[in-house]
C-alpha cells in the first residue's frame, strides 16, 4: 500500500456556522482590494469564462507565524478531488510541506477568486497554471525576504520543503519565520515568475496525497448541504408542480398542520418556464424537523394547473424524434457531398439509436440552508456554481451581490445537477418569508421528478461503403431538445456546445461527412448531465463503428483506427460555423487524431484486445474525445442464458495531457465505468401526462456493488509538461456504454441500439 500524507484542514462553511465569518489569526499574505488577473503560458478558454482566473498569491495563500500555510480552494468539491489537487499544485510550486498545509474553502466571490463554475471538467484545465503561478510567486517572495534578512543575493537562497536555505552558509529560516517579511515584498510580476522544473515536482503527478476530507468523511464529520445547523432553524420540504410550466391553483393545509411538528404551510413563489434556475414554486411545509415536514407534505392537498406541457408523453415523443431523424434537418457540418456518395455507395449501413432522459441522482439530494437578515442573505449550499448562485440570489432577492454570502459545503455528488441553484433560491425565499433560518430538503422523489434532465435523443447514422469496405460517406442526424430551452422559450436546435460534443467534431478521416440537426421542442427542464451530449453522440458513433465492422466482417478495432485515419490535426472545415471545442483555443487543444489513435492502441495493448474468452463472453471497444481529453475503453461482458450480464473486466486508457493527481484520475475513471453501466442498464426517466414517472431507487435503479466490474484497469498516458491539461471528471463516461453494448453484441449477437438495455437481453 502507498503511504499517504494527511493534511489538516479547515472548512470555511463550518467555521462560519460555529463562530461567524472571520479571518484566521496570523494571516500575513492578506488579500488586496483588487486581485491580479492570471495569465497562462499556454492559452486556455479560461479568459472567456465569467471573471476569468486569478493568480495573486495574496488571494490564495496565507502563512501563519507558526508556519501553517493556508491555501484557498476556490472551486467546489463534488468528488473529483479538485479541492485537494489545486491547493496541492500551489503547495508543490511554493515548496510547502503538505503536512503543514490547511485547505480552506472559498465562499462564492468570482471577482476575488476568478471563475468558480465547477463544471465542464475545467478545474485543472483552467487553474493548473494560475495555481502554479500563485505558488511560484509566494515562493519567490519568501526567498526574497530570506535573502534580505541575511543580506545576500536572492540567487544564493532556495526554498526547500517549508524553509528557505542559504546554500553557502547552511543557514535556514522556516516559512513561518519569514511570513511577515515575505508579506511586505512586492508580488512578483507574472512575466518574472520562475516556475519549478517539472522534474522537481514533489506532489504533482505523483498520486501520493490523499484527499483532504478523507478523515472527516470516514468519521461522519464532513459537512454537506444539509448538515449546517443554525439556532432557530426551520425545516422545509416543498410540493412542486408535477408538470414543468404548471402552477398552483389552491391548497388545503388542514391535514398537514395536524402532523406533529408541522408549524406552517405556505406558498412558494414560482417563475414562468423557462426561467433558467428559478424555483418551480409550490407549497412549502415548514416543521421542527425534516421528518415532520415530509409527513406533513404527504398529508397536504394541492390542486395544480398543469399548463402547456401536460401532454408530454415519452412514447409519442420518441416517435416524433425518430421521425425527425429520418428527414433532413439543419446542416451543421458538410464536407464533400455525402448525399451523392451515399447514393453511389456499394453498401450503406444504417443505425438508428435512442437514448432517453437521465436523472442525475447524486447521493445527496438537493438541500440548502439560508438565513435572510434584513437586506442580507447568507447561505450554506452544495453548489457547483458558487459565483452564479451568489448572482442569482442577489437578483431573486433584489439586493446587491455584496449582501450575499455563499458558503460552499461539500457536494454529495453533483454531475451537473448542482450547477442549478433553484433549491438554494427556495431556501432564501422561505427564510425571507418566515424571518428565520430555513433548511430546504429535497426528497429523492423530488430530485428525480423535478430534475434538470439529461436530454432525450434520436440519432441516425448512415455510412456509405465502397467495394473494399472503406467508409466514403457519413451522414449523422441528431435530434434532441436543447439545454438552451431552459434559458429561452422556443429554442429548438442544439447549441454549438451540444453539437460540438461528438457530432460536428467527429474526428473521422472520411471524404464526405454531413451532420444535421432537425428541430426538437422541449417539454421539461433540460440540463447538463455529466458528459452531456457526448453520451448520445458518442454512443451512436461508436456503435456504428462496430456495426460497420460487423457488416464488413472486420475487426472493430481495425475499423476504428481506419476511420480515425493517420495521426494529424483534424480540420472539420469551414462548414462548421462554431466548432466550440469546449471553449478552448484550438491552438492549445486541437483535435489530435494521433492522440485518439494513441489511447485506442494503448487500451488494445494493455486490455489484451482479441484475447480468447469463454463462451458467452465478448469484448467491445469504443473511443471518444470529450472535454479535450481522449479516452478509450474495452469492456469484457458475460451474458448468461437468462440474459443476465456481468462484467469480468474493464480497461480504460485516458490521455488528459499534463496531469496532477493520477490517484484521483483513476478514481474518476473507475467511477465513470459505474455511471456508464448505470445509464446503459437502467438510466431512464419517462414522462406521461407531463409527469416524470419514476421517483426513487426502486423504479429508477442505479448500478450496485454486485454488478460492478470484477476488475477495472486504468491506463494513464500523456504526462508531459508540454501538453496542456484537459478534462478528467466527464470524459470517462461516453465510451463506456458503447463499449459495453459492442461487447454484448460480440457475446450474444444482439445489437443494442436503444438505451437503457433493460430487459432487451431477456428476449434473446
Amino acid at each position: 500500500m502507498q503511504h499517504f500524507i494527511a493534511p489538516r484542514i479547515e472548512n470555511v462553511s463550518r467555521r462560519a456556522m460555529l463562530r461567524g465569518m472571520g479571518i484566521t489569526a496570523g494571516l500575513v499574505l492578506a488579500a488586496p482590494v483588487l486581485s491580479r488577473r492570471g495569465f497562462a503560458a499556454y492559452k486556455t478558454g479560461a479568459d472567456k469564462m465569467p471573471h476569468g482566473t486569478v493568480n495573486d498569491p495574496r488571494v490564495f495563500v496565507a502563512i501563519a507565524p507558526d508556519g501553517i500555510v493556508t491555501i484557498i480552494a476556490s472551486r467546489a468539491e463534488m468528488g473529483t478531488g479538485s479541492r485537494t489537487s489545486l491547493p496541492m499544485v500551489v503547495a508543490d510550486e511554493m515548496e510547502a510541506d503538505w503536512s503543514r498545509v490547511h485547505v480552506k474553502q472559498a465562499p462564492g466571490d468570482e471577482v476575488k477568486y476568478g471563475n468558480q463554475d465547477t463544471d465542464g471538467s475545467r478545474s485543472m484545465r483552467h487553474f493548473l497554471m494560475p495555481m502554479r503561478q500563485v505558488g511560484a510567486a509566494a515562493r519567490m517572495m519568501l526567498e526574497t525576504a530570506a535573502a534580505k534578512r541575511w543580506n545576500v543575493a536572492v540567487t544564493e537562497v532556495k526554498a526547500v520543503n517549508h524553509e528557505v536555505i542559504h546554500t553557502a552558509s547552511g543557514r535556514k529560516l522556516g516559512f513561518g519565520e519569514l511570513a511577515n517579511d515575505a508579506a511586505k515584498q512586492p508580488v512578483v510580476e507574472a512575466s518574472q515568475l520562475q516556475l519549478k522544473d517539472p522534474k522537481d515536482f514533489r506532489y504533482i503527478g505523483k498520486g501520493k496525497v490523499s484527499i483532504v476530507d478523507l478523515h472527516d468523511i470516514t468519521t461522519g464529520k464532513a459537512m454537506y448541504g444539509a448538515d449546517t445547523r443554525l439556532p432557530g432553524m426551520k425545516y422545509a420540504v416543498i410540493a412542486r408542480p408535477p408538470v414543468v410550466g404548471g402552477k398552483l391553483v389552491s391548497f388545503d393545509p388542514k391535514d398537514a398542520l395536524k402532523v406533529p411538528g408541522v408549524e406552517k404551510v405556505m406558498e412558494v413563489k414560482g417563475y414562468p418556464w423557462p426561467s433558467k434556475f428559478q424555483p418551480l414554486g409550490g407549497v412549502a411545509v415548514i416543521a421542527r424537523n425534516t421528518g415532520a415536514a415530509i409527513m406533513g407534505r404527504d398529508a397536504l392537498k394541492v390542486v395544480w394547473d398543469d399548463g402547456a406541457n401536460a401532454k408530454y408523453d415519452s412514447v409519442s415523443y420518441r416517435a416524433e424524434l425518430e421521425d425527425a431523424a429520418r428527414k433532413p434537418g439543419e446542416v451543421v457540418r458538410n464536407n464533400g457531398d455525402a448525399e451523392a456518395a451515399l447514393k453511389t455507395a456499394d453498401k450503406v449501413v444504417v443505425g438508428e439509436y435512442y437514448l432517453p432522459h437521465f436523472a442525475h441522482v447524486s447521493m445527496e439530494p438537493p438541500a440548502a440552508v439560508a438565513h435572510v437578515t434584513g437586506n442580507k442573505v447568507e447561505v450554506w449550499a452544495p453548489v457547483q456554481s458558487p459565483g452564479g448562485t451568489r448572482e442569482d440570489l442577489a437578483k431573486t432577492l433584489g439586493i446587491p451581490d455584496s449582501d450575499v454570502t455563499v458558503n460552499v459545503t461539500l457536494l454529495g455528488g453533483g454531475f451537473g445537477r448542482k450547477s442549478k441553484c433553484d433549491f438554494v433560491l427556495e431556501a432564501a425565499l422561505l427564510s425571507k418569508a418566515i424571518g428565520a433560518p430555513v433548511k430546504v430538503q429535497w426528497t429523492r422523489e423530488d430530485d428525480v421528478r423535478h430534475d434538470f434532465f439529461h436530454t432525450v435523443s434520436a440519432e441516425r447514422i448512415e455510412a456509405g461503403l465502397d467495394k473494399s469496405g472503406k467508409v466514403v460517406a457519413w451522414r449523422h442526424r441528431s435530434v434532441a431538445p436543447t439545454i438552451m430551452s431552459t434559458f429561452v422559450a422556443g429554442a429548438k436546435h442544439q447549441a454549438p456546445f451540444e453539437l460540438g460534443m461528438g457530432l460536428v467534431d467527429v474526428p473521422f478521416d472520411i471524404p464526405n461527412i454531413r451532420c444535421e440537426n432537425p428541430e426538437a421542442v422541449a417539454h421539461t427542464r433540460i440540463g447538463w448531465f455529466r458528459s452531456v451530449s457526448n453520451i448520445p453522440h458518442g454512443f451512436a458513433v461508436q456503435t456504428m463503428v462496430a456495426e460497420i465492422a460487423h457488416a464488413t466482417g472486420r475487426d472493430p478495432k481495425e475499423v476504428l483506427l481506419e476511420l480515425i485515419g493517420p495521426a494529424r490535426l483534424v480540420d472539420v472545415g469551414p462548414s462548421v460555423k462554431d466548432l466550440w471545442d469546449y471553449g478552448e483555443p484550438l491552438a492549445s487543444y486541437p483535435i489530435d487524431a494521433g492522440r485518439l489513435r494513441g489511447v485506442v492502441e494503448l487500451v488494445a495493448d494493455k486490455g489484451e484486445w482479441g484475447r480468447s474468452l469463454p463462451k458467452g463472453h465478448g469484448l467491445g471497444i469504443a473511443v471518444h474525445r470529450s472535454f479535450v481529453s481522449y479516452v478509450a475503453t474495452i469492456v469484457e461482458v458475460a451474458v448468461d442464458d437468462k440474459g443476465k450480464l456481468t462484467i469480468p473486466r474493464v480497461d480504460t486508457a485516458i490521455d488528459c495531457g499534463t496531469y496532477v493527481n493520477p490517484e484521483r484520475i483513476r478514481s474518476q475513471i473507475e467511477g465513470a465505468a459505474i455511471m456508464g453501466l448505470s445509464l446503459a442498464k437502467y438510466g431512464e426517466v419517462t414522462f406521461k401526462n407531463g409527469r416524470a414517472m419514476q421517483g426513487n431507487f426502486d423504479d429508477h435503479p442505479v448500478a450496485r456493488i454486485d454488478e460492478a466490474p470484477m476488475v477495472t484497469n486504468v491506463h494513464i498516458t500523456g504526462f508531459g509538461p508540454d501538453t496542456p491539461p484537459s478534462g478528467v471528471g466527464e470524459p470517462g463516461v461516453p465510451p463506456f456504454a458503447p463499449a459495453l453494448c459492442n461487447a454484448i453484441f460480440a457475446a450474444t449477437g444482439k445489437r443494442i441500439r436503444s438505451l437503457p438495455i433493460g430487459k432487451q437481453l431477456e428476449s434473446t
Binding site: 468528488g79 468519521t219 424537523n289 425534516t290 467511477g671 460492478a708
Partner: protein, 150 residues
Amino acid sequence: MIKLTVNGQERSWDGDPSLPLLWYLRDEAGLTGTKFGCGKALCGACTVHVEGQAARSCITPMSDLAGQKVTTIEGLDAHGDHPVQKAWREVNVPQCGFCQAGQIMQASALLLQNPHPSHDEIRESMSGNICRCGCYQRIEEAVRVAATGA
C-alpha cells in the same frame, strides 16, 4: 417518552413516536453524519447500528427504539480508528463521500457477523448501499483489507 441510548449516551424523545430515527438523529440530536438518500431503505446512506445490527434509520420509527442501543458513524470508534474506517482511508475509497458513513456502518456490521467474508459475501452484504460516484471497486477492496488486515 421513548428512552434510548445513542453512542453510549442516554437520550429521550417525547415527540412523534412515528418519526424515523434518521430525522431524530440529524435534526433533533444534531448527529449529521448519518445521511438521507432515499427515505425508503433503498440506498443505505442512513445505515446505523441498532444493537450491533445494521439498520436503515430512514424507516425505523422512534417507537421501535425504546431501550435500544443505537450507534452512528460518530460513535463507531472514539478516535475514528475502527478497522473499517482505517481500511477506507488506506484504500482511498471516497469520491464525494456522501454515502460512505452508511457504507462504513454496513461493512462494520458485516464484519461483526462474519469476520472473514468471501468476495461474494462482501458484494451481497454491501449491495444495499448505493454509491453514485462508483467507488464500488474500492469499497470491496477496503472491506477485504479491514477483514484481513492487509
